[in-house]
Point group: C2
Chain length 381, copies 2
Amino acid sequence: MAQHAVPETHVLAIASHVTSGHVGNKTATFCMQSLGCEVDAIHTVNYSNHVGYRRFKGRKTPAEEVAELWEGLKNARLDTFDMMLSGYCPSAPVVQQVGKIARELKSRSDARPGSFFWVLDPVMGDNGRLYVAEDTVPVYKSLLDDADLILPNQFEAELLSGVKIHDLATMKQAIARLHEAHKTPHVLITSIRLPPTAASTPTTTDEDLSTSATLSVIGSTATSDFKPRLFRVTVPAIPIFFSGTGDMFASLMVARLREAAQEADLLNTASWRSPDSVAGPDLPLAKAAEKVLASMQAVLKDTANHYDAAAKRIQEELGNGQHGGAGVKTGEETEAIRHLNLTRAAEVRVVRNSQALREPPDVGAFEAQAVEVEAEGDASR
Amino acid sequence: MAQHAVPETHVLAIASHVTSGHVGNKTATFCMQSLGCEVDAIHTVNYSNHVGYRRFKGRKTPAEEVAELWEGLKNARLDTFDMMLSGYCPSAPVVQQVGKIARELKSRSDARPGSFFWVLDPVMGDNGRLYVAEDTVPVYKSLLDDADLILPNQFEAELLSGVKIHDLATMKQAIARLHEAHKTPHVLITSIRLPPTAASTPTTTDEDLSTSATLSVIGSTATSDFKPRLFRVTVPAIPIFFSGTGDMFASLMVARLREAAQEADLLNTASWRSPDSVAGPDLPLAKAAEKVLASMQAVLKDTANHYDAAAKRIQEELGNGQHGGAGVKTGEETEAIRHLNLTRAAEVRVVRNSQALREPPDVGAFEAQAVEVEAEGDASR
């Protein structure tokens, strides 16, 4: 009856909750449960919907309340987890509290290497803009020493590594810095946007990464001397802004990495690190990313189809004044309604596409590739 | 890709959230999502775990916060729902607020019959004991006029109908009272326990209902003159107390009833009520209950197997003093730990058994039966 590729996995998920739509724990919980993980969710905010709508109501969870729920789990002997996924936190004290919980779980696993794995999504900003308070950044930096896998986007990777990323060489430099300075075993950078240059070998060119037709993720598992082993997976880009894709990616990675680590017989190895003989594209991290991106591509394609149909309908209704409410709307009101309706139409259709989560279609099209970067000296040019 | 028997259904789910384990919205959200429903969850409490552990921490949601989240959904035009499922509320004001939301959604559907359907699980108590404040009971009674389907257990049905249920005739009387006095279109009574008597015809005897080997649910959809049309489904009993089975039942009923109503072409009929020509066992309510109970039986059987193994292990560990923590435990401590561990082992394994939710096995074994009750005069004896 119970047939799952992912072994039984108990995950503590700490992120936002929204009543409507798909971001944070709302998405992450369902994605991990769909792959058979038992998910215990602590919500860092409790909002009606995500803030991209520009209108929302609800409440941030105080750090004390996160601590209290953790205390409750401990009191009831429910504090045993195989993995933890931490995402958006509304304040530096909540980030600190999340770090405290992760360290407690981590320190207990010292005697049993590999028995606990922490995936940290350091949600701070995107496209050069912070969307958390500035005092959150140093707190995230202080957590890097204990995380097993971090999932920054390009901007967050710059903030955490101190390396400005403008080509593949600096990308590699940033990842190397994170491995070396913080001993972070696994790094995977999402949402990569590099300006077109010629600073790389033909295996993966910056052009590949920056065309509007494709998007890449680049990952690495540190070798025993904390050098990077890079791989990349490139996917066709969809020209719509979907919220929650980062949470979908992170949560599916949790489940698929556990599966891949089991397949590589690494579940009893600290941080599930592969022997040095394993090349970047053969890492469990790479194998997991392939499946995750195949699933996501299917979900996003279906979402995009629905979005296009909805956008057409919304445009027509607004033209006809059929957008609910009485009387003539001002231009500003019409625009606000248009934005709300389009934002809703862009909510990822993860629930109707759960089969694509369980059985990623066309995984072969998402094969991880090696990333060759010219001599280190090129990095700073 | 997206293949679901249940049509696209947007559900507002208002019930409890627990970080660990499976009760309330934690279970309900996953069950409905697994069947393809889009679920928007408002949490009435936010606890570390369910109270059956006897140790928990967390916070009840004030009624004002439930109202605020609803306001947030309205402001962002996210307040359109096909169905609503309401469960546990921690106080009378929260029940009142939930009723306010349901009535608002209901009144909007007046112009489009069948476009909104409210499933009310009037969580008040069980086995003759209230576990909510007494002032909650009249508030639930006041909601009955607007609910489309109510799912009381036997004790709650007594509280709501004012009829003491001690045999099949009084069961029918209670259901008739709910149909007549409150115009509640659909009633389904769960957890039926009747003392053995001979007050029924051979079709379904009270003995069938009360043996320790089986459990029954009895449901009815009112005819056009608000008379009951009864059916029952009997399932093998599992001698373990599982928390959250009520929430699993209610949430699966939401999805399966929508599916059955679509199959019967009732989605544009007020409250999805079948024509008078349809007999009890042929009602969409009965068809839905068959699938739901088949799914649940599979999930609970797997849970029971794991529970038995865990119970054996827990017993051995306690005997050997291997239950964590230092030093010799007092009898009281040992007993508390035993209770915590057994309660955890009884958490329903709904996530690992999601296939049984999607594809209920052996539905034929759960066929709805007619319930024939002797003349009404017998009811009061």
